[in-house]
Amino acid sequence: MTGRRRLRVQGLSVSFRIPGATVRAVSEATFEVRPGSCLALVGESGCGKSVLAHALLGLLPDNATVSGQAWLEHGEEPVELLGASQAVLARRVRGREIGLIPQSPATHLTPVRTARAQLQEAVRELGSHATADDLAARYGLRPRELDRYPHELSGGMAQRVANAIALAGDPWLVLADEPTSGLDRPLVDRAMGTLRELCDEGRAVLLITHDLRAAERVADDLAVMYASRLVEVGPVAEVLGRPRHPYTAGLVAAQPDRAFVPVPGLPPELTRLPGGCAFRSRCGHETERCAVPPPMDGGVACHHALEDRHA
């Protein structure tokens, strides 16, 4: 692994055309993922996390419009992912440089072939040295479980198969979209431990997760997304320990071992995002200044970031 590798995303936006409206799913996301580190991405259901990951790999449907830049730097000539052809993405990027663990893995498995056949195919295509059994064992699957068809796998087993397939080609950058759904605690610890090992061995991880406790253990940095925008970014312990954006504070308080109360109100419709701060209708700290969009400044996009007020 070389230190020259890096994913540098600059002003990434995605919108979808649907009859009579445009859905703004990602707005001007700027961030970096570096070898040796894990960036966790969290945020309310529907805020744009999965779309962001899919955009980087050219996996969006035809009604999507993507703008901005995402540079995959890997020593030689960098590849700009958003403008790259499907041929380049398929031949050079997907599975080889960037591995995607998709959310809802069962829907990404081919129903008519066993888990083993699908894992072996990935191993073959990507020229991996590991066997299907080795890879499966790494994610906590027994060899006999690999001989089942997707519909014969439990939710957690399908997740483990997807994790093994995504990492078969030993990519240096892993995009993991909810990689622990359906896993019990020991398996969650194991999967998260594996992601951390990958980082420590010099790979880079973008981890989308609902599990703030796991993020705190595994990630170095945390990015918080709200209604298509990154609203707070920083070292994970700082962001979770002392949230500065009111939305982050609400998300932290919603955990079942905290207040377990949802952020009040509904997320805005991404088809008609309000001018100004999108969190205004639910914030409780808003003033007239919030009618102007808050710029990202010092890791937080809020006119009245919490620490400022407490100071």
Binding site: Q103, S104, S154, D184, P186, L212, A254, E269, R272
Partner: protein, 219 residues
């Protein structure tokens, strides 16, 4: 009472449940935990009349179930609703979100747009989402629709199979709140299946553990 007694389920040579018994008590939230692959979803499908066991009996409010799936007696079937672990596998991709939610009403010959709108609102789905196809919404938005769908016919028993396994903390708290409010309003009983001990500790009145092959133990 919804009572599963001595339930055995085999998939080919693999025994997923071996004489497992579980009763969902009136007025309570029963939590069900256990390692991945131990048979929780299998038990959920049996208790929702969606899977016929090799042996054992399922009793719904005193009536022993003799027919399963589409052939099950309608008045028994609608008493139990199941929220599936994987929303993408649980909806018909040819239905728009409003139709997904209203499906049980339509299937029972009493479509009710007002009820669909009300449930969508309660589960936190904004109006713009209701005219979309399942592939045009996020996984969590689809799961909200599945929760709304499960409540349309006002079941007396609600089985939540990893309802919130991939949802952010706020959405999780919201949906648990929706189920609790429904339970308080109607007196329905809830079986909450989850891998998250902290969630079950917060949500359930009692937690039962399922080990391999369906051995139950209090935990």
């Amino acid at each position: 009472m919804l009572e599963a007694s001595g339930i055995t389920v085999r998939y080919g040579r693999h025994t997923a449940l071996d004489e497992t018994s579980l009763t969902i008590m009136p007025g309570k939230v029963t939590g069900l935990a256990g390692p991945s692959g131990c048979g929780k979803s299998t038990l959920a499908r049996v208790m929702a009349l969606m899977l016929r066991p090799a042996s054992g009996t399922l009793t719904v409010d005193g009536t022993i179930v003799t027919r399963w799936r589409q052939r099950a007696a309608r008045e028994l079937r609608i008493r139990v609703a199941l929220i599936y672990q994987q929303p993408r596998l649980a909806v018909d991709p040819r239905l728009k979100l409003a139709e997904v939610i209203g499906e049980p009403l339509t299937a029972n010959g009493r479509p009710d747009e007002g009820r669909v709108t009300e449930l969508a609102r309660e589960t936190g789905l904004t109006g713009d989402l209701l005219t979309r196809w399942p592939h045009e919404v996020s996984d969590g938005q689809l799961q909200r629709a599945c929760v709304a769908r499960a409540l349309t016919l006002e079941p007396r028993y609600l089985i939540c199979d990893e309802m919130t396994t991939m949802l952010d903390a706020s959405t999780q708290a919201h949906l648990v709140g929706v189920v609790n409010a429904y339970r308080e309003r109607t007196g329905a009983r809830v079986l909450a299946i989850s891998h998250d001990p902290i969630l079950l500790d917060r949500w359930a009145d009692e937690v039962v553990g399922l080990a391999g092959q369906g051995d139950l133990s209090p935990s």
